[in-house]
């Protein structure tokens, strides 16, 4: 089998969970995926589960709430925090008074400790409910940082073991079913081409295989393009040939900037090679954008870059044999 990917296949699972180490670009790339899907006519819901403002910031909107808001054409967003999901869960089971009691007596923490993962299950349960309703073609979940992602995605299995009966168990089973069905759910791993995030990506990918959760692709963010290497003397000589006056300080700066970016690029290549070695998954690169504030224009640039990366991947990818259900090459 070839590593296949085309834009439509990219979103064949209705729920797409974007995961990665802290600060690698989960939120940014969730937004990019949403914009990309929306531009092909899909109705997309972006879900924030940490009550952070990154998503809305990226679109220059107000902080998200429990009610979905429109961020851009075809892109909607809301947050689903554990507290809200817990309240709603008890309400749905006609146990409104229990949830009030839990909150007024500060017992939510106790319950969450007693049944680890319950908060995650309720959040994912809410995602499942939205998925089942079918209002959106695609639901993109901006997941908690990687260490937490595994706990997050493993919560269903854990709870099924811990809680033997009752509605929480049923919820956990439903969530587990959704997560392990590749036609319904896939995880997109995001990383920087640096050693620590790459290690974490590989570990997460392997753990997800064990959990039988599909990984759709790895997005390698923050990629620096190489630059021709040139010494100060070579640069001066080029200036003479080109008939331009160049102060020495400028030749030095050009040489330094080129050697810096090439050094980063080499490191990134090494890390990319490790990823390719260890994971038989589509790996797509996204450029580092030279700005301190991406905003909507940055998201649009990255969206184009992702579309190009997907197209290139299809035309260039060598035929790779995928071991059946395993994420690793032999």
């Amino acid at each position: 089998m070839r590593l296949v990917m085309d834009l439509s296949a990219f979103f064949e699972s209705r729920v797409c969970i974007v995961s990665g180490k802290g600060g690698v670009g989960k939120t940014t790339l969730s937004a990019v995926l949403a914009v990309m899907a929306a531009s092909s006519g899909q109705q997309v819901l972006l879900v924030d589960v940490e009550g952070k403002s990154g998503l809305s910031n990226a679109f220059g909107a107000n902080p998200l709430e429990y009610e979905a808001v429109t961020l851009s054409q075809g892109v909607f967003a809301r947050n689903i925090t554990a507290e809200q999901a817990l309240l709603e869960f008890f309400q749905d089971h006609n146990l409104n008074w229990v949830s009030k009691r839990l909150q007024s007596m500060n017992l939510v923490d106790v319950i969450a400790t007693a049944a680890p993962g319950i908060k995650d299950i309720l959040v994912l349960g809410k995602v499942k409910q939205i998925e089942r309703r079918g209002t959106y073609d695609l639901i993109i979940v901006d997941a908690p940082a990687a260490g937490h992602t595994l706990t997050f995605l493993n919560s269903a299995a854990g709870l099924i073991d811990a809680v033997r009966v009752g509605p929480v168990r049923t919820q956990a089973r439903d969530v587990q079913e959704m997560l392990t069905d590749p036609s319904r759910t896939q995880v997109i791993l995001t990383t920087l081409p640096e050693e620590t995030p790459v290690n974490e990506t590989v570990e997460t990918a392997e753990a997800l295989v064990d959990l039988k959760i599909k990984v759709g692709a790895v997005l390698v963010n923050g990629w620096y393009s190489p630059c021709p290497a040139a010494t100060v003397d070579e640069i001066r000589a080029a200036a003479v040939t080109a008939g331009t006056v160049m102060p020495d300080e400028e030749a030095q700066a050009l040489a330094d900037a080129s050697s810096f970016v090439n050094m980063r690029h080499r490191l990134q290549q090494t890390q990319l090679a490790r990823l390719e070695d260890m994971l038989a998954l589509p790996i797509l690169q996204l450029p580092f954008l030279f700005t301190a504030d991406l905003g909507r224009p940055g998201i649009d640039t990255l969206t184009k870059a992702l579309e190009t990366a997907i197209t290139d991947f299809e035309t260039e990818a060598p035929a790779v044999t995928l071991p059946s259900s395993d994420g690793k090459t032999a």
Binding site: G22, V24, N57, V98, A112, A114, L254, D256, F260
Partner: protein, 393 residues
């Protein structure tokens, strides 16, 4: 490095490094401890989940590792033997579970109680599942090292929290949680006027049991039952931890990356600290793109455009077009990153805002930590030069 920063490294006794995920908290905490050791101080750094190779460099990757600090061979952090006399550097990796276990051992009345708690499923869940536990245990470690009197500087890394304020609140949350007052009222035997409350409580417990299963509930009830006799001790301890956190000698160092959103988070945190009267030592902005030249980005960009138009003329113009485009991109991002620092500088003033450049390589051994230390100790432009020079392998 500003004199204000030298002052911090030379004189502070407790430094808490905090900031959002991936900005360099663990790295800078190690650099500060190393810088202090080289200035003759006895420093210890408490790291939380360090990258594997950094853990290795700090000698924190052996399997028998408890959570006691280990002294690091000076040949590693001071290979040229240039340190001020008597300096030492130690490191420890936080293990929230074993820190909690030792607290249980300390405050239990007898070994049987220790055993019952350590075996309780609910207890086992606490370090893994109760949010804020890692934060609290980090503070607990800080207190322990501080009290030991063995170090004159404790630098503490913090876990990547959803909200950087989580750990300020951690001692309170932990005490409230362990007190389990609500639970004790619920499970107390009915007597006299309590009967009504208790009946409602029974219904509540039964309902909760139906939702979560009765085993789960039994574990909770057992835990709070056994823990009861230890609560006082814990409560006292947490009060001391809180006092140390609030003491004027405990300084907070904000770590941020120079992106607009990361800086906004750091600014928010600075505001919160100010409001609550926690002293801010300063801020470190990490991973700034190097500044290769004093000339203006716009000028370089113009040159780049000129040569791009001429790129087909010959090899020289092609080369110059690419080199100028690359330099212009770096100048633009470096400029934008520095433009975003103004507000943070206002907020931490009179504390310094130090800048650490993005290195051409990852930071996971002493030679790269030294490189970062050097950038902290030199002037801006020199620091950028250091970052730009590929480091000898």
């Amino acid at each position: 490095m500003s004199t204000a920063f030298v002052e911090i490294v030379e004189n502070s006794t407790t430094l808490v490094c905090c900031g959002s995920g991936g900005v360099g908290k663990t790295t800078t905490a190690a650099v500060i401890a190393m810088a202090a050791a080289r200035k003759g101080r006895n420093s210890v750094v408490v790291t939380i989940d360090p990258a594997r190779r950094l853990a290795h460099a700090l000698g924190l990757d052996t399997s028998d590792l408890g959570d006691d600090p280990r002294a690091i061979d000076p040949a590693l952090w001071d290979p040229e033997n240039k340190r001020v006399e008597n300096g030492s550097m130690s490191a420890v990796m936080l293990n929230a579970k074993s820190t909690f276990d030792s607290l249980v051992e300390k405050y239990a009345n007898n070994p049987a109680q220790v055993g019952r708690i350590l075996d309780n499923t609910f207890y086992k869940n606490i370090s893994a599942a109760l949010s804020g536990t890692q934060e609290y245990m980090a503070m607990e470690k800080l207190y322990e090292l501080h009290e030991s009197g063995a170090y004159d500087l404790v630098v503490i890394d913090t876990p990547p929290s959803r909200n950087a304020l989580d750990f300020l609140d951690a001692p309170n949350r932990m005490t409230k949680f362990l007190e389990g007052r609500a639970f004790r009222v619920l499970t107390a035997p009915a007597r006299g006027g309590m009967r009504l409350v208790t009946r409602a409580a029974r219904v509540f417990l039964r309902t909760t049991a139906r939702v979560l299963g009765s085993e789960v509930l039994d574990d909770i009830v057992e835990f709070f039952g056994v823990f009861e006799g230890m609560y006082e001790g814990f409560h006292h301890r947490a009060a001391h931890v809180r006092d140390l956190l609030a003491h004027e000698s405990t300084l907070f160092m904000l770590i941020a990356s120079p992106r607009r959103d990361a800086l906004e988070e750091a600014e928010f945190f600075a505001e919160q600290l100010r409001e609550k009267n926690f002293p801010i030592a300063g801020a470190i902005v990490n991973r700034l793109h190097p500044h290769f030249t004093e000339s203006l980005a716009q000028a370089t960009r113009l040159r780049s455009e000129t040569f791009t138009e001429r790129a087909n003329e010959n090899e020289a113009t092609t080369l110059l077009a690419e080199l100028y485009a690359n330099l212009a991109s770096f100048q633009e991002v470096a400029q934008k990153e520095r433009d975003h620092l103004v507000r943070l500088e206002e907020l931490v003033s009179p504390g310094p805002v130090e800048k650490i450049p993005f290195l051409g390589e990852d930071v996971h051994d002493f030679s790269t930590l030294r490189l970062l230390e050097d950038t902290l100790f030199s002037k801006d432009t020199e620091a950028d030069k250091i970052a730009a020079i590929p480091h000898a392998q």
